[in-house]
C-alpha cells in the first residue's frame, strides 16, 4: 500500500495517537487513566499540528485566498462594528455632556416668556425649560475671511452660550460657557467646510455701513445643530458683542427648550400638547430623536456600506472555505480511507481537518481584528471631528466581539462541512481514490462550429460548474459592491432627486417662514413680483398649514399640508395624482403609512375647526420635514400657517444661481436658493461620503476579484495538470491552452457581472430605500414601502466603465497567472 507521509504518520502513532513512553492503546481502561488524560492530548495535538502545517504548504494558493478573505471579512466587520459603536457612543456622549434639550421649538416674532412659564407650570413632566435668543445674520452680512455667506443655505445665528444646559462643547468636549469680547466660536461645520482656522476673522456688516470684526477663538460642537443637514448653525459670542450687533442688524429668534422627565415616553404627547396650546410656534419643532438621526445619518450610511461589504466578504469567505475544504478532501480522499481502514475514529479524522481550518480562521481573525482596529480611526475621523470620541470599554469590546462572532460562524460552518466525513466509507475511498471526476457534458466538440479552445473552455465551465461557482459568486459580489454605492451616490446627486424631496421640477425655490402678521403680505408681494419677472416662465406658490388628523391607531396627530395649485410645476407621484380641490389630499409615503390608509380611502383632517373626510388621491416621496407631509387645496385663511414655498421655473438659459441671488436680495427676508444649490448643500455632504465610500468599494471589489482570480487560476492549473499535459502531448500549444483558461474565467466573469449588475439594480435599490426608510421612520418603518426612490443610474459608469474595469483587471490577472501553464508537462503524468 502506498501511504502518504500523513497516513504513515498516523499508522505509526496507532489508533490511540500516543507516542509518549508509557502510552496506552486502551485509554479508557486502567487505573492510570489520570496520567493518560494528561499525556494523550499533547501527543495528539502535536501530530495534528504537523499535519495541518503539511496541508498548508501543499495548498498554498487556496489557503492564502481563504486566509485573506476571512481576514478582510473580520477586518471590515470589526471596523464597521467599531465605527457604529463609536458613532452611537460619541453621539450620545455629546448629547449627554452638552445636556441637549429633549424638545426644542424655534419661534420668530412676538414672544411672551410668561405665557410659556404659565403653561409649563401645569406640565409635571417638564423638569426644566429655558429660552435661548438666536440672532439670525443674513448671509450677505456675514463674511468669513472676507467671503460673504450668500451662497450658503445654512442659517447662521449669533448666540450667547448657555452655561448650564444645552451647552456648546469645545474640541475636547469641554463646555464653552463664555466667549471673550471680540472673539467668536464657530461650529465645527464651518471649520471643515469653510476651511477656517483659529485667528481668522469673521465680519458682520449692516446696510448702514456698520462692520464688526470678530476673531475666531475656537470651534464648537453643537449637540443639536452639528451636521450640514441641520441647516441652522449657532455662532457663540460675548454678551456685549451680541447686543452691539443686535442693535444694528439681524433677526431675533427664540429657541424654546424643554427637558422632560422621561423623554422616551413623554416626547410625543408633550409635542402635541404644546402645539395644541397655541404657544409660540412660528418655526420648526424638533426633538432629541431628530437630533440623533440628523447627527448619525452620514456616518451611519458609511458604516452601513462597510457592514454590507463585510457581510458579502463573509459569504465569499464561507464559499471559499467550502471550496478549499472540498479540494482538500478530494486530495486526501484515499488518505481518509486509509485512516478509517486502520481504525482511526471518524471523530479523530474530523479533528485533523478542524485543526487545520480552525487554525486558519484563528490566525485570520486575529490579524483581521488588529487590522480592523487600525482602520477604525480612519472611518471615524469625521465622527471624531464633529462629536469627539467617547471613551469606554465598549469601543474595544464590541469590535472584538464582532471578530469573535465571525470566527464562531466560520467554525460552525466547518463543523457542518465536516459531517461529510461520516459518509466516506473506507472501502469506497480506497477503491475510488477521488470523489468528483470531471464529467462529460452533453456538449459535443464535434458538433460545434466554435473555435476549438473557446469550445473546450465553455465545455469545461458547463461540465464542472460547481467548481466555478465560487468564482461566479466573487464576480457577482464584486460587481454588486462596486455598483450599489456608485448608484447610491449618483442617485443622491442626480438632478431628478429633488422629485423625492416633495417638489416638482423647479429651478429656484423661495422659502419664507411665517413669522408674524406681516408674513402673508411678504408672501403676496413675492408671488406678485415673481409672476411679473420676464425670466420666470411659471411659479407655484404654496402655503403650508398645520392640521389635526388621526393616525392609524386613532391617535390625534399633526400634519403639515401644503396648499396651492399642485398642477403647476407638478412633482412625480409614486401613485395616483395631484389633489385638485379641497376634498382631496395627497400624502407623502411616510404620512400615508402613518395614516394607516391607502389610496382612495378618506382621512380625517380638521379644517376651519371642522373634521373633513378628505379623499387620498395620490402619494409621493418626500424626504424633507421628517418625511411626513401632505398636499391639498385647503382654504388657508384662519388656519395656522407654518411656512410658504414658491417654486419658480426659469426660462431656458437663465443662470439659476445668479437669478436666485438677485431675487434673494429683493425678496428678503424670504430665502431664495437655486434648487441645485439647495440640494447640493442639503445632501451634498452625504453624497460626498457616499462617493468616497463608492470609490473605496470599487477598489476593494476589483482587488477582491483580481486576488481571487489569480488564486483560482493557479488552483485550476494545479488541478488540471493532467489534462493540460495530455493536451500538450497531443500537440496543443501554450497560446491555445491559455485561450481555454481565458475563455473559462471570462465566461464566468461575464455571467457574474451580469448577475451582479442586475442584483445591484434591484436588490441594491431595495437596500438604498431601506436605508432611507430607517433614516426617516426608524427601524420600525423598514419594509413598509415608505421610500420608493428609483436608482438614477449613470449607465456609462455603472453598466460600462465599472464592469469594463473589472473585466480588464480580471483578464490581466488570468493572463498573468496562466503563465505557469508552461510548468505543466507530460512528466507530471508519467511520474505518477
Amino acid at each position: 500500500m502506498n501511504l502518504s507521509p500523513r497516513a504513515r504518520s498516523v499508522a505509526r502513532h496507532g489508533e490511540g495517537g500516543v507516542d509518549e513512553p508509557g502510552g496506552d492503546q486502551h485509554p479508557a481502561v486502567g487505573a492510570d487513566g489520570q496520567v493518560l488524560r494528561r499525556g494523550q492530548p499533547a501527543g495528539r495535538w502535536r501530530m495534528y499540528g504537523r499535519m495541518a502545517a503539511r496541508d498548508f504548504s501543499r495548498n498554498r494558493g487556496v489557503t492564502a485566498a481563504l486566509v485573506v478573505l476571512m481576514m478582510l471579512s473580520v477586518m471590515l466587520g470589526t471596523a464597521s462594528a467599531g465605527t457604529l459603536v463609536r458613532l452611537i457612543g460619541a453621539s450620545s456622549d455629546l448629547m449627554e455632556q452638552a445636556d441637549a434639550p429633549h424638545v426644542a421649538q424655534l419661534h420668530v416674532g412676538a414672544f411672551d416668556q410668561a405665557e410659556v412659564d404659565r403653561w409649563v407650570a401645569g406640565r409635571p413632566e417638564v423638569v426644566h425649560h429655558q429660552t435661548m435668543l438666536l440672532l439670525g445674520i443674513d448671509g450677505a452680512n456675514l463674511l468669513f475671511d472676507g467671503e460673504p455667506q450668500t451662497a450658503s443655505i445654512q442659517q447662521n445665528s449669533l448666540v450667547v452660550p448657555n452655561t448650564e444646559r444645552d451647552l456648546l462643547l469645545d474640541l475636547d468636549n469641554r463646555p464653552i460657557t463664555q466667549v471673550e469680547p471680540g472673539g467668536i466660536v464657530l461650529p465645527v461645520y464651518h471649520q471643515v467646510e469653510g476651511d477656517l482656522e483659529v485667528g481668522d476673522t469673521v465680519r458682520i456688516t449692516a446696510a448702514d455701513g456698520f462692520a464688526k470684526d470678530l476673531t475666531i477663538a475656537g470651534f464648537a460642537r453643537d449637540s443639536i445643530m452639528n451636521p450640514a443637514i441641520a441647516s441652522s448653525k449657532r455662532l457663540a459670542v460675548a454678551p456685549s458683542d451680541f447686543e452691539e450687533v443686535r442693535a444694528r442688524t439681524g433677526e431675533v429668534e427664540q429657541l424654546v427648550e424643554f427637558w422632560l422627565d422621561d423623554p422616551a415616553t413623554q416626547t410625543a404627547g408633550f409635542k402635541k400638547a404644546y402645539q395644541d396650546a397655541q404657544l409660540p410656534q412660528a418655526g420648526q419643532m424638533v426633538d432629541s430623536n431628530t437630533f440623533q438621526i440628523l447627527t448619525m445619518i452620514g456616518d451611519g450610511m458609511v458604516a452601513a456600506v462597510v457592514i454590507l461589504v463585510s457581510m458579502l466578504l463573509l459569504v465569499v469567505g464561507v464559499l471559499c472555505l467550502r471550496f478549499s475544504f472540498l479540494t482538500a478532501v478530494e486530495q486526501d480522499y484515499r488518505e481518509i480511507g486509509v485512516l478509517k481502514a486502520i481504525g482511526v475514529a471518524p471523530r479523530d479524522v474530523r479533528r485533523i481537518y478542524l485543526t487545520k481550518y480552525a487554525l486558519l480562521a484563528g490566525i485570520a481573525s486575529g490579524v483581521g481584528l488588529l487590522a480592523g482596529l487600525a482602520v477604525i480611526p480612519l472611518l471615524t475621523r469625521n465622527i471624531t471631528r464633529y462629536m469627539g470620541t467617547a471613551s469606554g470599554l465598549a469601543n474595544w469590546i464590541v469590535p472584538t466581539l464582532a471578530a469573535v462572532l465571525i470566527f464562531v460562524v466560520l467554525v460552525l460552518f466547518m463543523l457542518v462541512l465536516l459531517r461529510r466525513f461520516n459518509r466516506i466509507s473506507a472501502v469506497t475511498a480506497l477503491r475510488a481514490g477521488a470523489t468528483s471526476q470531471p464529467r462529460a457534458t452533453r456538449l459535443r466538440l464535434h458538433r460545434s462550429r466554435m473555435p476549438v479552445h473557446l469550445r473546450l473552455g465553455t465545455m469545461d465551465v458547463v461540465g464542472r460548474w460547481p467548481i466555478y461557482l465560487l468564482l461566479f459568486f466573487v464576480f457577482a459580489v464584486s460587481t454588486f459592491i462596486m455598483i450599489v454605492p456608485v448608484n447610491s451616490a449618483t442617485t443622491a446627486t442626480a438632478p431628478g432627486f429633488i422629485n423625492y424631496m416633495g417638489i416638482g421640477a423647479v429651478d429656484v425655490r423661495v422659502d419664507l417662514r411665517h413669522d408674524d402678521a406681516t408674513s402673508p403680505e411678504q408672501f403676496e408681494r413675492a408671488v406678485e413680483q415673481l409672476g411679473s419677472e420676464p425670466d420666470v416662465t411659471a411659479i407655484s406658490p404654496m402655503v403650508t398649514t398645520r392640521h389635526d388628523t388621526l393616525d392609524r391607531d386613532g391617535i390625534a396627530a399633526s400634519l403639515y399640508v401644503e396648499n396651492g395649485d399642485h398642477t403647476l410645476l407638478p412633482l412625480t407621484y409614486a401613485d395616483g395624482r395631484a389633489p385638485t380641490d379641497s376634498s382631496e389630499i395627497a400624502l407623502s409615503l411616510l404620512a400615508l403609512h402613518q395614516s394607516g390608509r391607502s389610496l382612495g380611502d378618506t382621512v380625517p383632517i380638521t379644517v376651519g375647526g371642522q373634521v373633513n373626510a378628505l379623499t387620498i388621491v395620490g402619494s409621493y416621496q418626500d424626504i424633507t420635514h421628517g418625511g411626513s407631509t401632505a398636499k391639498s387645496v385647503l382654504p388657508t385663511d384662519g388656519e395656522e400657517t407654518m411656512w410658504y414655498v414658491i417654486g419658480v421655473q426659469l426660462a431656458g438659459g437663465t443662470d439659476a444661481t445668479a437669478t436666485a441671488q438677485t431675487y434673494g436680495a429683493q425678496l428678503a427676508p424670504a430665502r431664495v436658493s437655486a434648487i441645485e444649490q439647495w440640494r447640493d448643500q442639503t445632501l451634498g455632504p452625504i453624497a460626498d461620503q457616499l462617493t468616497i465610500a463608492a470609490g473605496v468599494d470599487a477598489v476593494v471589489a476589483i482587488a477582491l476579484a483580481v486576488l481571487m482570480t489569480a488564486l483560482f487560476a493557479r488552483m485550476l492549473l494545479a488541478r488540471d495538470a493532467g489534462p493540460i499535459a495530455i493536451q500538450r502531448a497531443i500537440g496543443a500549444d501554450d497560446t491555445g491552452l491559455r485561450q481555454q483558461y481565458l475563455t473559462r474565467i471570462l465566461l464566468v466573469l461575464v455571467l457574474g457581472v451580469t448577475v451582479g449588475t442586475v442584483m445591484a439594480n434591484t436588490l441594491g435599490e431595495l437596500l438604498f430605500n431601506l436605508m432611507f426608510e430607517a433614516m426617516f421612520g426608524g427601524f420600525e418603518m423598514l419594509f413598509q414601502g415608505t421610500s420608493q426612490i428609483a436608482f438614477a443610474v449613470n449607465p456609462l459608469l455603472a453598466s460600462l466603465l465599472l464592469p469594463l474595469a473589472l473585466l480588464g483587471a480580471v483578464a490581466a490577472a488570468t493572463v498573468a497567472s496562466s503563465r505557469s501553464i508552461a510548468a505543466a508537462s507530460i512528466s507530471s503524468l508519467t511520474t505518477e
Binding site: L445, H446, A729, I730, G731, S825, T830
Partner: protein, 253 residues
C-alpha cells in the same frame, strides 16, 4: 547502411538528458528508419520513456541533437515543436490519457481540430472511419468512464492516427491491459506498420517486443543491445519470442 541512412525518419546523435545533475541519457545515438517497428526495452530507470519524450521533442534534451523529418528539433521553438507533434507524430500511452470531459469521439477529433488541416466534417468522418477500423465505432458518443481499458486504448490509437502521422510513439501501450486485449492492440499496430507506419514502442513485455522488427535494449541511458529480427508476419511468434529471450539472456540482459 548507406541506403538506410538516406531513409532515416529520425536521427538522434549524442542525446544527453540529466535530471537534477543525474544523467538519464548518456550520449545516445539512434537512427529510426522509415517503416520500422521498434521496441525499446530495458530495466526500470534505464531511460526508456525519457528517450521517447526527448526524441519526440516533448521534453527538452540537455545535449546532442535530433533530426526529425529533416528538421533539427533543438532549433525549434516550443510552439513549432507543438505544431510538429500535432501534425507529424502520434502518441499512445499506457493509461491512454483521454480528456474526461469529452466524449470518446471528441477525444479523437480534438488533435485534428487543433491542426485544422481539413474541414471539420471531413475530420469527423476520418475519426469515424478509424473507430470503425479499430472496432469501437459504436462507442463514439460514450464517456471515458463508459468503456473498457482495451476499448480506451483503441480510442487512444485512433487519436494518435487522426492527423496521419509519420511516426507513432507508444509508451507501454499494452502495459495496463490483460493479455487478450494486449494481443488485439498489437494486431492493430502490426497492421498499421505493415501499411507503412513507423512505430516506436517502449515495453517491458518480451511478447510485445517479439512482434516488432527491431529491439533496442537500454541500460543506464545507453544502448547496450540492438537486434534486427525482421517484421512479424503473423506466424512463428513463439519461435521469435524464444529467440528474443535467448538473445536477451545471451547478452546478460
Amino acid at each position: 547502411m548507406t541506403t538506410a541512412t538516406a531513409t532515416a525518419v529520425l536521427d538522434a546523435q549524442g542525446l544527453t538528458k540529466t535530471f537534477d545533475g543525474h544523467p538519464v541519457l548518456q550520449g545516445l545515438d539512434l537512427k529510426v528508419r522509415d517503416g520500422e517497428f521498434i521496441a525499446v526495452m530495458g530495466p526500470s530507470g534505464s531511460g526508456k520513456s525519457t528517450l521517447l519524450y526527448n526524441i519526440s521533442g516533448m521534453d527538452t534534451m540537455t545535449g546532442g541533437n535530433v533530426q526529425f523529418a529533416g528538421q533539427d528539433l533543438g532549433s525549434l521553438s516550443q510552439k513549432q515543436l507543438a505544431r510538429l507533434r500535432l501534425t507529424t507524430m502520434g502518441f499512445i500511452f499506457q493509461h491512454v490519457y483521454l480528456l474526461k470531459n469529452l466524449c470518446l469521439l471528441d477525444n479523437i477529433v480534438l488533435p485534428a481540430y487543433l491542426a485544422g488541416l481539413a474541414p471539420r466534417a471531413e475530420l469527423t468522418q476520418r475519426a469515424m472511419a478509424l473507430m470503425e477500423r479499430t472496432g469501437v465505432a459504436d462507442l463514439a458518443d460514450r464517456d471515458v468512464t463508459e468503456a473498457s481499458g482495451g476499448q480506451l486504448q483503441r480510442i487512444g490509437i485512433c487519436r494518435a492516427l487522426i492527423n496521419e502521422p509519420q511516426i507513432l510513439f507508444g509508451d507501454e501501450p499494452t502495459g495496463a491491459l490483460d493479455s487478450t486485449a494486449a494481443t488485439e492492440i498489437m494486431d492493430i499496430l502490426g497492421e498499421l506498420n505493415a501499411e507503412g507506419t513507423t512505430i516506436m514502442l517502449v515495453t517491458h513485455d518480451t511478447k510485445v517486443a517479439a512482434r516488432t522488427s527491431r529491439v533496442i535494449y537500454l541500460v543506464d541511458g545507453r544502448i547496450v543491445g540492438d537486434r534486427q529480427h525482421g517484421p512479424y508476419t503473423g506466424t512463428g511468434l513463439d519461435q521469435r519470442h524464444h529467440e528474443l529471450t535467448e538473445w536477451l539472456l545471451h547478452h546478460g540482459l
